[in-house]
Amino acid sequence: MAESKDKKPYAEEYAINPGDFSAIGEASTKFKATLAMLGVPSDVVRRASIVAYEAEMNVLIHGGGGKIQLVVYPGSIELTASDKGPGIPDVQKAMQEGYSTATDDIRELGFGAGMGLPNIKRNSDAMSLETEVGEGTVLTAIINFTR
């Protein structure tokens, strides 16, 4: 479908504050409501919610806070999560199911199973991870309305 060039895609962004573990999922919840309101198909909303929730968790747990952004295009969703945390030294390892560097505190909450990034990948149609040790990480995930 051709969209007029001057029409801006819908965008929404939230800050993820360091240390506020009980708030994990608040941004994803708002994204989910937005996507449902915009009439995005429910299976797409579900996949986007999982990606957003895992990404939000990563930003808080590993990145020490940051931000998460949702952009809705006519046939796809782009989610970007960024932090200025320690970065990921070994991306290949981080992508392995079961590999986690989460602390015991996080595990007590039920997270840190080492499924986050694999889950994000599984639920997106494209995913990119820009990371530099000591600088931070930017994760971008694209979810298409049709797979």
């Binding site: 994990i24 999922g25 999982i50 199911e97 039920g110 997270f111 080492g114 889950n119």
Partner: protein
């Protein structure tokens, strides 16, 4: 199977959502204390069975469109979790049984497992 039946089989106490028990139907269940596993494998319409009691359980259920949560080993959800579950209309049950027993009884009564894909390598 509706939640009234689930509650009967598992001798569960209803923490919140009494009025929805008859109308909420579950066909599948997923038992885990790891929320990332739940996010990976639970399909929509799945009853979440867990021993964790924090607010993230409710958020996880909400993200996945799960219809209800059952806490095992008699563990009651935290106040913040109950408050959010009321907000998002997520019924909560507590069973005195262990995870194994609760899952076993549901399986025996025809509730299906969620498919976990075969791992590569």
């Amino acid at each position: 199977m509706n939640l009234t039946e689930v509650a009967r089989i598992l001798r569960a106490e209803v923490i919140w959502g009494d009025e929805f028990l008859d109308s909420v139907d579950v066909t599948h269940a997923y038992g885990a204390d790891l929320m990332s596993d739940v996010l990976a494998f639970a399909r929509p319409g799945t009853l979440l069975i867990t021993g964790l009691t924090n607010i993230q359980i409710v958020r996880t259920a909400q993200m996945l469109d799960l219809p209800a949560v059952l806490f095992v080993r008699g563990k009651k959800p935290q106040d913040s979790a109950v408050a959010l579950s009321k907000e998002v209309r997520l019924p909560m049950l507590v069973s005195p049984m262990s995870m194994f027993e609760a899952c076993g009884l549901l399986f025996q009564n025809g509730i299906h497992p969620c498919t976990v894909p075969v791992r590569e390598g």
